[in-house]
């Protein structure tokens, strides 16, 4: 028999306790390295500022909002009474969005590109989602709570805006668009 022919009929070595232990230790090392890399990459997103966090206890300075909460029946006493873009006395820009089955208020939002915008989102009735295609804007709109985040649109354009949290029979038609105007 040639060497290779003999190889085909040699008995196959089975795993046993000691060979298994060696391989286990190698695998455990691989798993530990993978976990470490996961931790580090998440960490890196905090440092690089690409972590898309919501602002905490949102809306402290808004009328009628306490600790990020408000009464959904009393939106008229809050800035949510006039949804859309607001300019503050110091020049900063706020955007107020109200979700209501089955529409967004304002129906079509206009915002400028290139400027920081602080969004405040709440719901008048049930849970909705506020998700803007092509961006990392994706928040839950909760009745009684204010969700807030700050973002700057780099590119002008039209962005589809959909509700992505089940809100009833008209959920799939709760779609609108946002228009980001070029910077002046």
């Amino acid at each position: 028999m040639t060497k290779s022919q003999r190889h085909l009929t040699d008995p196959v070595p089975r795993l046993e306790h000691h060979s298994l232990e060696q391989i286990e230790n190698i695998w455990f090392g691989i798993a530990a390295v993978m976990s470490f890399l996961l931790f580090m990459s998440a960490f890196a997103s905090f440092i690089s500022g690409t972590y898309p966090g919501l602002n905490g206890a949102s809306g402290h300075h808004l009328a009628g909002v306490v600790n990020g909460r408000l009464d959904p029946k009393l939106l008229a006493a809050t800035p949510f009474a006039k949804p859309g873009l607001h300019q503050n006395p110091d020049g900063s820009l706020d955007v107020f969005v109200v979700t209501r089955a089955f529409q967004f208020e304002p129906a079509v939002l206009h915002v400028p590109a290139g400027k920081p915008l602080t969004f405040y989102v709440t719901s008048a009735d049930v849970l909705h989602g506020y998700s803007v295609d092509g961006t990392n804007i994706n928040v839950t709109s909760v009745p009684g709570q204010v969700a807030s985040f700050t973002t700057t649109f780099r590119h002008a354009g039209t962005y589809n805006t959909v509700c992505n949290e089940y809100c009833g029979i008209g959920h799939h038609n709760m779609v609108t668009r946002m228009i980001v105007d070029p910077p002046q």
């Binding site: 046993e16 690409t50 898309p52 989602g129 909760v142 779609v175």
Partner: protein
């Protein structure tokens, strides 16, 4: 990493598949009436589970076609049965991912440890639990089927359903805690009667899983009993939706481990036998289950990255804890692959990967479970993406999410349970499979159908298609773009493949159940215990450090509870001190 004081008996290297000696059988139970009753209650749990799965699965293709842009909900036959896409989706989610899973697991993880220990349990209590669980199911089913609780699987308030739904769901889920009590006390009685003995592996895995579930279920039970039932009965006037959601996801993430660990029991203890190999390491298996017991629950906030008024600090802590949960699954991937390689080499398998061909792929009990494992690889990887707060806004509530969980719970768990049923039903009932070929077709087509579904849906999600929506019926055309044409087609085809698969599997299942009983099942389809390369041994005194450290499950159970209270206490405390109840709505 494993040590074993009892070396494995030296194996003669062999290139011929020698039949493995039957190393272990369940202790004999002499009382035939008792054994028959135990098998019967288990059978009732399993069959109820598959009846629920049958109804749930039949609704699936309608939804897959919806995501292919095809709307069947105006068809008169469909309209007679389902008032809306959303009612269908609620039924699909609840029946498949709550009822099927819980009932199967309650039968599986009651029967296995009781047989493993040769124990005598109170059958009146066991039957009472089954009847109560089913009563809860029927109550909730009335509301679901009459479109009075179209709340989807997550039933987030303030969308409101009938009180009957919440009460039925509470009774159904709460009954599982009775099974916890019965199994844990059975184990504890055995411990007291056998001091110094190592808990047998199958019992250990079952007890650890039930303990994890007890800690995990506290969230949803509190939410339903304290918040939702009084609200739906009109006793309280409103519900804080954020508090409710937080309690839901306390359970909502851990429940996926409640679904996967019973499958792991089979992958560790029985699949090696089906393959013709050995369990890799009993001490490592115990370590895996203890890691799941401790770490499954204090991670739920990674489902709430998009929610307001929960601090980024706590979201981040839960994220890191979630990453740690990858470790026991990676250890499982290793162990299970090792036992498969062991089996293949026993049959003469050679080469780095060539040995795979020597595995019994024609045996559907084997192939279902190994295909389920393969599915879990992209499923688990996608889970890591979902748990990452930086990626979350890209995928949250898009079609990516159902893509993910159809290759985890709907394949890794469901396909494993389907494979198990092919020996378990013959074991319990003494009946026979009508056709191995059709069962095999059902198994393989399920796997491929789910892979296609996952491909289509992950892709659609990345293109911005939202989940849980009747996208085929939108008045607008945002879901009719050229980019979406291919993933939509793939999703549609997957729905057809899965329908064919379901027909094949349920043909085999009902064929088995409606056939004649041949014998008592003990000899023809025994519980398929496997030998271990590194066993744990029987005496604690001489067992390895890992075995000794993992044995005190009661203490570890307390630790698991403390860990959850630590990770959820501050968050829930803050929510309680800022409660904002809002009124309910019925918008369906």
């Amino acid at each position: 990493m494993t040590t074993s004081p009892v070396p494995s008996p030296p194996r003669r290297a062999t290139s011929v598949a020698a039949p493995l000696p039957r190393v272990q059988q369940a202790p004999a139970i002499q009382d035939t009436a008792y054994l028959a009753s135990l098998k019967k209650v288990t059978q009732y749990y399993i069959v109820t589970a598959f009846l629920a799965l049958f109804v749930g699965v039949m609704i699936g293709p309608l939804q897959a076609l919806n995501y292919a842009g095809i709307n069947l909900y105006d068809n008169p036959i469909v309209k007679a049965l389902l008032k809306s896409y959303y009612q269908g989706l609620s039924l699909h989610g609840v029946l498949n991912a709550l009822v099927f899973t819980q009932f199967f697991i309650s039968g599986w993880m009651l029967y296995l440890p009781v047989r493993d220990l040769g124990a005598r349990i109170n059958m009146k209590f066991a039957w009472f639990t089954y009847v109560l669980m089913t009563a809860g199911l029927l109550m909730a089913a009335v509301s679901l089927l009459s479109n009075r609780a179209t709340l989807l699987y997550t039933f987030y308030p303030p969308m409101e359903g009938d009180a009957l739904f919440y009460i039925g769901a509470a009774i159904m889920v709460g009954s599982s805690l009775l099974v916890v009590g019965q199994v844990v006390s059975t184990w504890w009685n055995w411990k007291r009667a056998n001091p110094g003995r190592v808990t047998p592996l199958v019992t250990f895995m079952s007890v650890a899983t039930w303990m994890m579930w007890a800690v995990a279920s506290l969230g949803i039970v509190t939410e339903v009993v304290v918040l939702l039932i009084p609200w739906s009965l009109g006793i309280t006037q409103g519900v804080d939706p954020l508090l409710s959601k937080t309690l839901f996801w306390w359970t909502g993430h851990a429940i996926v481990y409640f679904w996967v660990l019973p499958a792991y029991i089979s992958w560790y203890a029985f699949v090696p036998h089906h393959a013709g190999g050995r369990t890799a390491s009993e001490p490592l298996t115990r370590l895996v289950f203890v890691l799941f017991l401790l770490n499954s629950t204090p991670v739920g906030i990674h489902h709430q990255y998009a929610d307001p008024n929960i601090s980024n600090l706590w979201k981040t802590i839960h994220m890191f804890l979630t990453f740690l949960i990858a470790i026991p699954s990676l250890l499982t991937a290793f162990s299970v692959a090792a036992s498969l390689e062991d089996a293949a080499r026993a049959r003469g398998g050679r080469g780095l990967v060539g040995w795979v061909r020597k595995l019994p792929w024609g045996n559907p009990v084997f192939s279902a479970q190994v295909l389920a494992m393969i599915s879990f690889i992209p499923g688990g990887a996608g889970g890591i993406v979902n748990a990452s707060s930086s990626f979350s806004p890209v995928v949250h509530n898009t079609a990516w999410i159902p893509g993910h969980f159809h290759i985890t719970v709907a394949t890794a768990t469901a396909l494993t349970f389907m494979g198990i049923s092919l020996w378990l039903i013959p074991h319990l009932t003494g009946k026979r499979l009508p056709s191995v070929k059709i069962a095999s077709f059902g198994v393989w087509s399920w796997f491929f159908g789910m892979m296609l579904f996952a491909l289509g849906m992950h892709w659609e999600g990345l293109l911005g298609v939202t989940r849980r929506a009747q996208v085929s019926a939108t008045a607008q055309d945002i879901y009719h773009t050229a980019q979406l044409a291919l993933p939509q087609a793939i999703t549609g085809i997957s729905g057809v493949v899965l329908l064919a698969s379901a027909v094949a599997y349920f043909y085999v299942l009902f064929g088995m159940l409606l056939s004649r009983r041949i014998d008592d099942g003990e000899a023809a389809a025994p519980i398929p215990y496997s030998e271990a390369i590194s066993p744990a041994g029987e005496q604690l005194a001489t067992a390895s450090p890992i075995v000794r450290a993992t044995e005190p499950l009661l203490a570890l159970w307390v630790m698991a509870l403390l860990l959850v209270l630590l990770m959820y206490g501050p968050v829930i405390g803050k929510l309680l001190s800022n409660m904002q109840p809002v009124p309910g709505w019925r918008l369906y």
